[in-house]
């Protein structure tokens, strides 16, 4: 079955809305991802997100060993133009990207300016696993008290992200997507704290 570009994209968007407005809430895109019948180096749920958000009006960047192939694929699929990491509206960081690449991308991505804070990047990060867990505590708008999640991303991304988003409303928004098509959003307003497990 083929992905319905009206209805499946709409349901994916509503999950993006749910996850973005309630950080810590994990949505699942497998229903939509299952219908994607292209063969590429990135996961099907990433393609669903690209189809939901990208077109000729925006730019993107792919961070991966297979950057050239995936870039060409997304460009042909959505007509969005690829650009450098410091200019891109949407940055796809695939699973084969290294910790250093993720860290560097967080540092380089545009975070808007005070007059136009919306002119900032959204990072879509592929990871092994996004689940409910005790490892990270989330606080901020959209969260009643606190939420706990586990994200299998390694490296120093939490501190670098906090530094990048230090001057609200400037900042970057993160979308994590795992191999089971689980989606978790961490907008710039969310505080992420590492839990010390005793």
């Amino acid at each position: 079955m083929q992905l319905d570009l009206v209805h499946d994209v709409q349901s994916a968007y509503r999950m993006l809305i749910d996850s973005m407005s309630r950080p810590g809430m994990i949505s699942n895109l497998s229903e939509e991802a299952r219908k994607v019948d292209f063969q590429t180096e990135c996961s099907n749920s990433l393609i669903v997100i690209a189809l939901t958000l990208l077109d000729t009006e925006v730019t993107f960047k792919v961070i991966s060993e297979h950057e050239a192939e995936v870039t060409q694929f997304i460009n042909q699929l959505t007509y969005a133009k690829s650009t450098t990491a410091d200019q891109a509206d949407y940055i796809f960081i695939l699973q084969d990207a290294t910790d250093e690449q993720l860290q560097k991308t967080i540092q380089m991505a545009k975070h808007g300016d005070l007059v136009n804070p919306q002119e900032s990047a959204t990072l879509i990060i592929e990871v092994d696993e996004v689940t409910a867990g005790r490892e990270l505590m989330l606080r901020g708008p959209g969260i009643r008290t606190e939420e706990y999640v586990h994200i299998s991303a390694t490296g120093d991304w939490i501190d670098l992200r906090a530094e990048k988003n230090g001057d609200f409303p400037l900042g970057i928004d993160l979308l994590f997507i795992d191999l089971n098509h689980n989606l978790l959003a961490i907008p710039r307003t969310t505080q992420v704290m590492k839990q010390v497990i005793k």
């Binding site: 509503r14 809305i17 005070l114 009643r144 907008p187």
Partner: protein, 287 residues
Amino acid sequence: MMTTATAYNFAFFDEGSKREIRRATLKAISIPGYQVPFASREMPIARGWGTGGLQLTLSLVGKNDTMKVIDQGADESVNAVNIKKLIENTTGIGKTDETSEATIIQSRHRIPEVPLTKGQILVLQVPLPEPLRAFEASELETKKLHAEKEYSGAWLMLFEQIMKYGNMATDADHPVMVENRYVMAPSPIPRFDNPKMNHSDALILLGAGREKKVYAVPPYTRVVSLAFQDHPFEPESFEGESCKVCGANSVFMDELVEEESGETYYQCNDTSYCIERLNQAQEEGAL
């Protein structure tokens, strides 16, 4: 008779228009209270008649949604009925008057009396999204004021009202502070509804079609009405009054005049809430 206008795309818009609104909406959610510019497409209703709210609704709506549209608390007023018809004819989805049954509620100038829940999205139509416009005509300047969190003008506006009238004379659209960062126009809801925005269970999206702005209040976000220590914020009070039709109190009511006797009386502004109460009373009476 319900006809689905198949000549149109699902939810009226082409997919490119939806994508543009969707991108702006996601940014609005990540920057609570900040007005994100968007393209604001031409609609088959005039700008200023709820096109901002309608565009948000059309970008959100899916086959499984149930829709409620209200105008000043009423489900049956002309504006609400026309918007409902357009959505229904281009999507074929179900509509309801009952607040608790709806997944998307588009509203002009009210937040329903029945508390909203987690599964719902409230879309508010906004005529004037810029709370600083009354004293600064230039968009470039108001954007700078927001950038610098320079809100003395907003405070001064309220202070002048206190000097002139003895109290804050805003009746609807009383400005709010969102997450201690952005001063925001809550759309012309009565002051009575302002506290419902604070720490809401439902996501609230606001759309201004003519002014080409969308903004958002995510769930569980701090929304505080602007006020002074010696002049606290006060919602409209209906103390001692109750609805002539259903007997409700502590809701927002319209003050009406009985033409024959010349007497004033009060009635629920939220019509579906009022009818629900009447139906309930009748059922209980019949048992």
